[in-house]
Symmetry: C2
Subunit: 205 residues, 2 copies
DNA sequence: ATATTTGTACCGACTAGTCTGTTTAGGCTA
DNA sequence: TAGCCTAAACAGACTAGTCGGTACAAATAT
């Protein structure tokens, strides 16, 4: 083993992600990344064959962190397993709480990429779609558990309701950016929680 | 008078908007715009002093169209003025209907710009914020009308609830892009409508 | 009526600089 | 000694923006 290359690689990933959130992928040059990280061009291309390979690595890392949050929220609400509606509501509450302890400016790499999709190889965009569908499936299961002993007050498509979580996240990030107010995301997740609570009728037990 | 320059200008605006939705602003070169429109560099810079001047013109045009939709939805629901809740719900329904008759790929220039904010002059971003606040105010008024004879089932911040409309729009566009499904936007607006309907208790009259 | 002027709209070659990516020649460390 | 990295030069395509010149319709002058 020589020096630990993972440190350099991680630094590139960290700083380039921050740059991309402010300049977009296309608007972020490799020279900018070199300046921010203090490494050289040789080192950059040692770790990433092309700029697009960096894009792929970034989305993989981001998606992994994203799934970790999902898994953690699932774990943290395991104790509510007996009461599916309660679990679903606490599951959303987990994200509200996580958002409150957040002070970095909000944003999602999926959205960033999706507004310049032609810059990326198809597999990069596929990876985003796949991750969103995993959220749909996981949350869909939670919802289906609720439906076992609750009716909805309106006819409801489970997939679409599950996707609504992602929708509120993504939309809140954008409005948050536009109005430069980091508290916005938590507020809108709360509206989502309200909606879920109102939508499911209490079963007469 | 020579030839009508407005035609050329409008063509530039139209085609560059489409390109920016696919490549991002930074990822769209002026040469690409020239190729798509069939005009020349001289003509482009005759109409727009810089690339950033195009960005500003585009956001102005987009915001204007955006406000027109808002005004139209207000007008079309004037007949419900006596019943504020009904008006609010039909107001949302207007956007659901408008979305259904849409076949071009969804997207919002605000979101596009906000994910590469460093590419633009501050006034461009200010214009986006101002337009979002106008939506907040207009919808806020509709909500306050409802509150005159309805309570909400949860404590509710009017501004935040008004912003929620924008949130659902923006989020739905992103998920729609990710999953390549244009029907998604209407579905999520429907969830929003459900939420509003459930949130406001019927007054005993 | 015809000639001249004026201003808008447009053309396209050109410049100065930036972009990603390559290459070369080497050094440092576990 | 193999993996990690520096430093600098370089290629070639592409970038935004410039500039001198042109086309043409309408206003004005003769």
């Amino acid at each position: 083993m020589a020096r630990d290359g993972k440190l350099t690689r991680d630094k590139i990933l960290l700083e380039s992600k921050a740059l991309i959130f402010e300049h977009g992928f296309s608007g972020t040059s490799i020279d900018q990344i070199l300046e921010k990280t203090g490494i050289t061009k040789g080192a950059f291309f040692y770790h990433f064959k092309t700029k697009n390979a960096l894009a792929m690595a970034l989305i993989e890392e981001f998606a992994k962190a994203d799934m970790d949050k999902l898994d953690k929220a699932l774990e943290n609400t395991e104790s509510f397993k007996g009461n599916a509606l309660n679990r679903l509501l606490h599951f959303i509450q987990e994200f509200i709480d996580a958002e409150k302890g957040q002070n970095e400016p909000p944003g999602c790499l999926y959205a960033s990429y999706l507004y310049e999709p032609q810059q990326f190889e198809p597999e990069v965009l596929d990876h985003i779609a796949e991750t969103m569908l995993m959220w749909r499936n996981v949350i869909g299961k939670l919802i289906r558990e609720v439906l076992k002993d609750h009716k909805t007050k309106y006819p409801t498509d489970v997939d679409s309701l599950a996707d609504h979580v992602t929708v509120v996240f993504e939309g809140a990030f954008i409005v948050s950016r536009a109005l430069n107010d980091p508290d916005i995301t938590a507020k809108h997740l709360h509206h989502l929680k309200n909606y879920l609570e109102l939508l499911f009728e209490q079963s007469e037990s």
